[in-house]
Amino acid sequence: MSATDPLMNAPQPAPVVSSISERPGLLSLRGVDKVFNGDVVALKDLNLDVRQGDFMSLLGPSGCGKSTALRIISDLLHPTRGSVEWAGGHSQNDLGVVFQEPTLMPWATVAKNVYLPFRLQGKSYASVKDEILEALKLVGLEKFQNAYPRELSGGMKMRVSIARAMVTRPRLILMDEPFAALDEITRFKLNNDLLELKAKINCTVIFVTHSVFESVFLSDRIVVMAARPGRVLREVQVDAPYPRDEVFRTSAEYAAHCRAASDALHEAMGG
C-alpha cells in the first residue's frame, strides 16, 4: 500500500495531484455541525476546502448529509456551529444551482426560464438576451428557446436547468443528484456534456451523487461521506486528466479509481 497522498488511505495507489492543492481557495466550511430538532445530527464537524476549478463530488449513502451540506453552502440553511467562508466574500451571482428535478417554471418558455436569475436581479430581457442565447447554445438547445418545458424530454429539461444555473457565469455551481432520474444513455451523454461545459466556462462544481461511476468519471476530487452522523470519511482524488471521454470510461485507470471510491464508500456504509 503506497499512501502517497496524505489525504488518502485507499488500497489503490494514487499519486499526488499537486495541481489541486495549488489551486486558489474559493470556499471553505470550517467545523460545520447541523442539528435538526435538537437531536438529529445531520452533519458533524464538516470541513471542506473547495478550490477554484474543482470538480468535487460529494459521495455517500443516503442520510449522510450531502444535501444538507449543499443547502448550507447555498445559504438555505444556517449551520448550528461552524462557518462557511468565501474567499474574498461573495454575492448572489456567485452561485448556480441544479436540483434533482429540472425545476422549471412550466408557464415560461425555455428562454424565459433561463432568464430567471437575471430577471430577479432586475435586468431587462433585452439587455441579457445574448447571454441567454449563449447559455442555450452551450447546452445545445438554442433551437428550443420558445418551447415550453412540457414539450421537452427529461434530459432536455435538465439541460435547460443547467443553462439557467450557468447563465450568470457563477463561480460555483451546486448540483444535487441532477441526473439520478434519467436513463443511463441520457445520463452518459449529459456527463460528457457537463465536463465540456465546465471546461468552457471555467467554473467550480460541487456535485452530489450516490453513484460511484458518475463521481469518478466527472470529478477530480471525491469527498466520501458517512452517515449517522453525517461526516467526511475521506477524500479520493481522481488524477486522470481532462478532457475525459468514452475511452476513459472503459479504461483500467477508470476501473481502478472506481474501485478506490467504491471501497471508501463501503467503509462509509460500515462495511
Binding site: 444551482v97 412550466p106 430577471r119 415550453y148
Partner: protein, 285 residues
Amino acid sequence: MAVTDPTQIDTAPDADEIARLRTRRLEKFGKYALPLIVMALAIWFWDRIVVWNEIPHYILPGPGRVWDTLVTDWAILFDAAKLTAKTTILALIFAVIGGAGLAILFNQSKMVEMSFYPYAVILQVTPVVSIAPLIFIYVESKTAGMLLCAWIVAFFPVLSSTTLGLNSVDHNLRDLFRIYGATRWQRLTMLQLPSALPYFLGGLKIAGGLSLIGAVVAELVAGTGGVGAGLAMRIQEAGYRLNIARMFAALSMIAAMGVFLFAALSIVSHLLLRKWHESALSRES
C-alpha cells in the same frame, strides 16, 4: 416484391388502428349529438304527456306554449335577464377581487390568515337565504344588498382555491428564488401567482355558477321596488298569477345564462392555460 426498402414502409392503418379511429369519430360525434337527442326526446315526451293527459296549461304548459310565451314576453323577460345578469357579473367580479385579494393577503401574513380565515368559513357555511333578509334591513340600496348576497356566496371558492394555489409552489423553485435573493414581491408575482393560476381558474368556474345562484336568491328576498324585477322576481310574480308558461320561460333563461357563464369561464381558463398546463393539453397518442 415484399417491402425491403425501409423508406417504402406501408403506412396504411391496420385493423386496430381503423377501429380506434372509428371509435374516436363516434365519440366526437356523440359528445355533441347525444345531449341534443336526449333534449329533443325529453321535449317530445313532455309534449306527449301534456297532450295525452289533457293537462291544463295552468298546471303544466306544453313546450310549444312555453316557447310562445318566451317569444311574446321577450321584452319583459329580456329586461329581467339583463338585471339578473348585471347582478351576477358584478358579484362575480367582486368575488374575484375579494377572493383573490384576501387569498394574497392571507398568504402574505400568517397572522391575518389565522385571525380571519375561520370567519370566511363561517360566512360560507351559513346559508345565504338566512342572511339575506338581515342584509336588506341594514343595506339601504337594493342593488348593493343584492350584490352583497351574491358576493357572499361566490367569493369563497375563489378564496379557498387561490389560497391552495399560492401554497402549492414547487419547493425547489421556492429555494431557487431564495438562493437568487428574490424579494417578497418578486416571489409573489413571478412564482406564486403563476403557480396559483390554474387553481384560481378552477375556483372561478365554481364562483360563476354560485354568483348566479346568489343573485337569484337575493332577488327573491329583496322583492321588487326601485330597481325593477330580475328573472327570479318574474318567476315568483308569474307563479302568483298561475302563468306557469312564463315561469318555465324565465327558468329556461336562467339556465341558459348559467350555461353561458360556465362556457365563457371555461374558454377563458383554456386560453390562459393551453400553452403550459396539464389540464389544457390534448394527448398526442
